[in-house]
């Protein structure tokens, strides 16, 4: 009888504590899930026909255009040799949008002076990784951009 008391008490404590935790959990969990937004559509776009032509890119003072590729931005650049190169436009450092600098012959990120060559390789500044390269296919007037391996 003597040692039954503490056991009963601790049992009740567990039940009570567990109940409180479960209640808290059932309040916090849905609230947390609520603030995580549902994924937006068109996540896995692997190929895209660009809504502009080579002449539009070459006419641009920056000799480049940005476009929406799935959920992210891409950039397509006309090199001096007349080659079209496409890659992700999101800087691998902290997500700024990169831009083509024809005067320097590089892809440049204004936010922390990150530099990439026209193949998207990071050459100086803080970016830790190269930009993701896309494959460019020209079919007549149309430009198609696709992810590597897709």
């Amino acid at each position: 009888m003597n040692d039954a008391k503490p056991t009963r008490r601790s049992f009740l404590n567990y039940v009570l504590g567990g109940g409180v935790l479960a209640t808290l959990g059932s309040v916090v969990y849905p609230a947390f899930r609520f603030i995580v937004p549902p994924p937006s559509g068109e996540a896995n776009v692997s190929q895209l026909k660009l809504p502009f032509k080579r002449s539009d890119i070459e006419a641009d003072p920056q000799r480049a255009r940005t476009f929406k590729f799935g959920r992210t931005l891409g950039i397509i650049v006309a090199s001096d040799a007349g080659e079209l190169k496409a890659m992700a436009a999101t800087c691998t450092h902290l997500d700024c949008t990169v831009q083509h600098r024809p005067d320097l012959g590089i892809i440049w990120c204004a936010c922390h002076n990150g530099r990439y060559d026209l193949d998207g390789k990071n050459i100086s500044g803080p970016p830790p990784r190269p930009l993701e390269r896309y494959v460019v296919n020209e079919v007549g007037e149309d430009i198609f951009v696709s992810r590597e391996g897709a």
Partner: protein, 375 residues
Amino acid sequence: MMTAPSETKATSKSRAHNWLDQRFKISALVDYMGHKVVPVHGHSIFYYFGGITLFLFIVQVVTGILLLMYYRPGADSAYESVRFIVSEVAFGWLIRALHSWSANLMILFAFLHMFTVYFTHAYRKPRELTWLSGVGLLALALGFGFSGYLLPWNELAFFATRVGTGMAGAIPVIGDELLVIMRGGEEVTGATIGRFFGLHVAILPALFTVLLSVHLIFVQRQGMSEPLEWQHLPASQKKYQKFFPNFLYRDLLVWLIALNVLALLAVVFPDGVGPIHWPLGTKADPFAPPPPVIRPEWYFMFAFQALKLLPPHVLFIEGELFGILLFTIGGLIWALVPFLDRKSQVNQRSRLYYAFGYVVLAFIIIMTFLGYVAE
């Protein structure tokens, strides 16, 4: 006969007093206030910095509520509504200027307040929790600055928010999830404005109010910290002034001066001046590259600049991660200083923590300077 009117006044006053006293025991409070004193010494001016910060916060609440009447969050309406406020609404430019100026000054005075408390070791026993709540308040104030910056939805705000949330995204394990929660998706969009708006006008004010009340109650309970040198002073050489009404009157005078300075700044420089400015600029365009000079607000400049100077890799970890780690550790030490600084707990100066304070201060000043000049 001549004294009759003043007599009735006196009795009516005490009647009101009695009425309140019976219900709320205010005479205990009045008594308490009457006994409270404030130390007088060479650094007494530091006692006003917290009060100025409080005053500027009150201005923030009032002007913020006013702006709320016209501001409309959303990618298609945010920029236009701010433009409407500054160009069409009577005194709209003034309210926005006041809100922006007092935001900047509030952060400035919060920093000054913190550093003076730090360098006078005023965080020592029994004020550990007061310090901790103060650090929390400063963190929330920075959160206000960060979330408010995006709301006009202009070019600068857009990219500053991308970089700021990108920083959160670089945190290991929880980074990706955190970034999506902050942005309301993978990119900075109208959804992000919604979130930042909610944060700026509901969540942060609620947390701030609670923490501020705690902070002020602590300060009232503990009174003003006496300087360390007073330890060895004979009682006859310690000077005090009464909190009520002497110190309070001075405090109110300082508030009046602050109000005038604020009004002057807002009228003469409605768009800010020098590096502290908030031009409406052009509307954010997610497809456009960032403008050649992108800058965060001045109080984030040191962090921004430090991240810019870090190489892509430091000892096998990515540069930005290294930077975030450094800031986290530094911030933690800063917050826990009252518990770490054993010497100040027994009312002694501690060289080590002075040195740490100077290193932090020098780091902030040098990085900020580089950020503005190195361009």
